[in-house]
């Protein structure tokens, strides 16, 4: 069985957010919703401060708290490691969002097929991706434009994986920050990346067993980190 995992090389990331853009285009997510996000933050105090970047997809935890709390089983973990949302089943209680320590869940606060970056009006989607209308393993899980009032989040591009392609963020990174593949295969990109370099995972102390590995030095608890983004008004759905 495949066990998908991702490695993100923080020493390479330059904060261009091409992955964010690729994700939005590939999954057609509505305005204000960023399944992939890149943190930009200042580390340390002046004059010893530095700007740093950290991409944040869904961590696809092995012990995912969101799947535990879901009252209808709409959030579930597949055998290949993907944590997905069945948008046909979700009742919109947002308990998964509350239970997630990584903040990767995005609710469809309004009809998602309008008001992208540019308001396309009643005409509908800027474009249609039929891959998102297919059920994978019998459940409608792919893509960001289905219904109002349901939850969505990063799917590791499940619709691309079935075609043998890599997730959009991985495929579009200009500096090869991401490695993606099968954790059980010692020759996969991700296995090699983890084997070669120092790595850490976010908030492992919560026992979530995330499947996204960050390459580089762990976040030092003694150093001050200050987020640089605060653009709520511009992206409000």
């Amino acid at each position: 069985m495949v066990r998908y995992a991702m490695a993100i090389d923080l020493t390479r990331c330059m904060g261009c957010r091409a992955c964010v853009e690729a994700c939005k285009v590939e999954n057609n997510t509505p305005q204000g919703i960023f399944w992939m996000w890149v943190f930009r933050y200042e580390e340390g105090n002046y004059p010893n401060s530095k700007i740093r970047y950290m991409p944040r997809p869904c961590q696809h935890c092995d012990n995912a708290p969101c799947t535990k709390v879901c009252p209808v089983g709409a959030r579930f973990k597949r055998e290949d490691g993907l944590v997905l949302t069945d948008v046909n089943r979700c009742i919109g209680c947002r308990y998964c969002e509350v239970a997630c320590p990584y903040g990767v869940n995005y609710f469809n606060w309004k009809k998602p097929w309008k008001n992208q970056y540019y308001d396309w009006g009643e005409e509908g989607l800027p474009y249609r991706n039929p891959d998102h209308e297919i059920e994978y393993e019998g459940r409608l899980v792919s893509g960001g434009n289905h219904f109002v009032g349901v939850m969505g989040k990063c799917t590791f591009c499940v619709h691309r994986l079935v075609k043998g392609l890599k997730p959009a963020c991985v495929a579009n990174c200009p500096v090869n920050v991401f490695s993606f593949g099968d954790l059980d295969d010692p020759n996969s990109e991700v296995s090699k990346a983890i084997a070669d370099k120092n790595h850490f995972r976010l908030q492992v102390e919560l026992g979530t067993e995330p499947k996204v590995y960050y390459l580089g030095a762990p976040l030092d608890p003694r150093v001050l980190r200050r987020p640089l983004d605060s653009t709520r008004e511009e992206v409000n759905p």
Partner: protein
């Protein structure tokens, strides 16, 4: 009964059998000939070293369903004697790569006896030609077929050895001399009504064998002789665009066809049954059912309805004040609460049509920096809290025999049922898809082991069921007594008293005692259990996780419940002049209990904040800071001051033995407000201070839609309480002071 059981057993067996029987499908292992997908598991045959594979067909232009023979030639040497060759319609590694998925039908494969797309040679020694015969797909288009040597494994098939493929064009370019079809009526895209005439002219060098007329891919008719003309009744088709196809076959087996579309636009007669028919039918059903049941229960109902009217004593008239008359202030309150309900309906409609975007809630984290839960959840916890105390009060009165508090028992029960309904409503209005609420029932068994929200559903359902039964059972005796004394309600009470017996009191008391005991236990499960667990088990949110939540929520629930009962009872006592029946000492006792519960809550709060401040992880510390000194301090300190103030006042007046009813009621109202705000300070700050430090602090400002819905739930609660006290005795008649049980209804004895 036995037949029924047998039926179920058989049904289960059938279902099991269907589950066991293996279903057909593409094989994966590359062993022997068969139907193969893109990959072949782990048993693939190796690549063809340096050799090539080519394919050819006599023609690339096919008509629908035409048969074609494809020759695949493999040349060069192989590393082993076994070689598998397969025909696929896609080079993508998907299950739909078998030719049948594209519409092809294989009628013969190289073995000569099968219809497989994969052929395995066990003794390949050099150049070989293989032949497949296929039938073309049934719709027009370009269809490509590839031949390739079987190679690949797992989810990573490789296509090193394949032909560039043959692109077959199906439809256009038919065989010379084959029939050609021209449809003269209707025109392509024409709009038609009623009867549509289809007229086709067919030219063919050979004699026509038969002509098919198809609409929406369904064969409507076939003809073998001219004229090729049909009358089609379009009323059989829905309004809109449909596809029409005429296909002609000649005796040589060649065919030609023409596709057009037509648009049906019939004036649809409204066949819907008018509303009044439904109402009349419904009314008729009710009347017939009523007559039938009346015939069955004639004697009983006769006896119940015919009992002679009796007079009420003056004391009883006092106790039944709300049923006997309504003051202008009562009407005013009814209108006001009705307006609250109307506001709720309007705003909920707005929220349902626009989505939850009209609320102030947003996703936590970047970039929206919001709070995914807001004052709806706050309202839910607050109402659930109030719901407890009511029934606990009443249950405690019964189980530990607090006779003094008996007059307010039914008010407390009423408050429980109504606030529990409002708690449920608060959750429903928070949901993105309330129309899918039923899914919680469907997947109940699957989710109940792990989802605290499902535990909530369970316990609230049990609670409301028991509360309603409890309220109803204990009211039956009064209803029986009042049936003959309140002619206006005689029919309603008679219906509710179905199955009433004069001597049932003992049995009902016994049932009620056990329900009371159960409810007392469940309070710890709900208010000190599943509601706090909704938060206390969530490790992701700093400030929630921890064991203190259980006791804290219980203290908060009992405090706000006691406060709500004090306010309700005092208002009713004043409005209906029940000073003689509801003794002032009842309020004194409840006020003292309230002071103890409030200080207990503050004590827990001290524990909580000290832990968060002293040596906690920075995420916990930040939340405590935000509450004590930061953006939430303007709410936090007033809440603490309100609680301390009410404790000081209530405890002080208890110690000084100086009691003021107005003061106690005011203090209770303050407690209610304080605990609503305190629930806000539990739910929101944790969500606006994400545990992951890379997120900035969030913002949550409720919108007027949220305020309206919250105000609406309170309006609905008041409305329901008014409705109840106008229909049923809210004071216990037979248990009240000054009412002789001897004057009870002996008619049925």
């Amino acid at each position: 009964m036995r037949k029924l059981l047998t039926f179920f057993a058989l049904a289960i067996l059938c279902v099991a059998a269907v589950g066991i029987i293996p279903t057909g499908g593409a094989l994966k292992g590359g062993v022997e000939s068969g139907i193969q997908q893109y990959d072949c598991g782990s048993s693939c045959h190796v690549t063809l070293g340096g050799a090539t594979i080519t394919m050819s067909a006599p023609s690339l232009n096919l008509t629908r369903g035409q048969s074609v023979t494809i020759t695949v030639t493999v040349s060069g040497s192989n590393s082993g004697p076994i070689l598998g060759v397969m025909l696929v319609s896609l080079l993508d590694p998907v299950a739909a790569s078998v030719p049948s998925a594209a519409g092809w039908t294989i009628t013969a494969d190289p073995s000569g006896s099968g219809t497989n797309n994969y052929y395995e040679m066990t003794n390949y020694a050099g150049d070989t030609s293989l032949q497949w015969t296929l039938t073309a797909p049934q719709s027009d288009g370009t269809y490509t077929l590839y031949a390739r040597v079987h190679h690949g494994g797992g989810s990573e098939p490789q296509y090193e050895n394949y032909d560039l493929g043959l692109a077959f064009v199906v439809g256009a370019g038919t065989v010379p001399g084959a029939p050609s079809v021209v449809i003269t009526s209707p025109l392509d895209g024409a709009t038609v009504q009623d009867t549509m005439v289809v007229d086709a002219t067919i030219q063919s060098s050979a004699a026509i064998a038969y002509v098919l007329l198809m609409i929406d891919d369904v064969v409507v008719d076939n003809k073998s002789t001219s004229p090729f003309r049909w009358d089609v009744d379009t009323l059989n088709y829905s309004n809109g665009v449909h596809a029409l196809n005429v296909t002609a076959y000649d005796v040589d087996g060649n065919s030609g066809f023409k596709n057009i579309t037509f648009n049906v636009n019939n004036v649809v007669e409204k066949k819907e049954i008018p509303t009044w028919v439904w109402i009349a039918a419904g009314g008729a059903v009710v009347i017939v059912a009523g007559i039938v049941s009346a015939l069955f229960l004639r004697k009983r109902l006769k006896a119940m309805l015919e009992g002679e009217a009796k007079e009420l004593s003056a004391t009883e008239r006092g106790l039944l004040a709300p049923l006997l008359r309504t003051k202008p202030s009562g009407y005013a309150l009814l209108v006001l609460s009705g307006l609250g309900a109307a506001l709720f309906a309007t705003m909920w409609y707005v929220q349902m049509t626009s989505g939850l975007v009209v609320t102030g809630m947003r996703d936590y984290g970047m970039p929206l920096r919001g709070s995914p839960w807001g004052i709806y959840i706050v309202n839910f916890i607050w109402f659930v809290g109030i719901a407890h105390g009511g029934i606990v009060m009443s249950a405690a009165i019964r189980v530990i025999r607090l006779e003094k508090y008996k007059p307010i028992a039914r008010m407390a029960e009423l408050l429980t049922v109504v606030t529990l309904l409002m708690a449920g409503l608060s959750i429903v209005m928070d949901m993105g898809r309330p129309d899918r609420l039923f899914k919680m029932i469907i997947y109940y068994a699957d989710r109940v082991p792990s989802s605290p929200l499902v535990w909530d559903l369970t316990v609230i359902m049990i609670y409301i069921t028991l509360s309603v039964i409890y309220l109803y059972l204990l009211m039956r005796e009064d209803l029986a007594y009042l049936r003959t004394r309140l002619p206006r309600f005689r029919i309603l009470y008679t219906l509710l008293l179905f199955g009433y017996r004069e001597n049932e009191k003992e049995k009902i008391e016994r049932i009620a005692w056990w329900i009371a005991l159960t409810l007392l236990v469940i309070v710890f499960l709900l208010s000190g259990g599943v509601i706090p667990w909704l938060f206390g088990l969530i490790a992701a949110q700093a400030g929630w996780f921890g064991a203190i939540q259980g006791p804290m929520y219980l203290a908060a629930a009992l405090s706000s419940a006691l406060a709500a009962i004090i306010v309700t009872a005092a208002v009713m006592r004043k409005a209906f002049h029940w000073e003689a029946h509801i003794d002032i000492s009842i309020f004194r006792g409840m006020g003292t209990a309230l002071s103890v519960l409030v200080i207990l809550y503050l004590w827990f709060t001290l524990h909580e904040q000290l832990t968060m401040q002293y040596a906690a992880p920075s995420s916990e510390h930040d939340i405590s800071d935000a509450m004590l000194f930061g953006s939430y301090a303007p709410f936090y300190w007033p809440v603490i001051a309100m609680m301390l103030g009410t404790f000081g006042y209530l405890a002080g007046s208890a110690l000084a033995k100086r009691f003021s009813l107005v003061g106690t009621v005011a203090a209770s109202a303050v407690v209610l407000v304080a605990f609503w705000l305190k629930r806000f300070l539990i739910v929101v700050p944790s969500l606006t201070h994400p545990r992951l430090e890379l997120y900035p602090e969030g913002i949550y400002v409720p919108t007027w839609v949220e305020y309206s819905l919250v105000a609406g739930t309170i309006g609905i609660a008041v409305f329901l309480i008014l409705l109840f006290i106008k229909l049923f005795p809210v004071m216990e008649i037979k248990e009240a002071k000054g009412v002789s049980n001897e004057s009870g209804d002996k008619r049925e004895a």
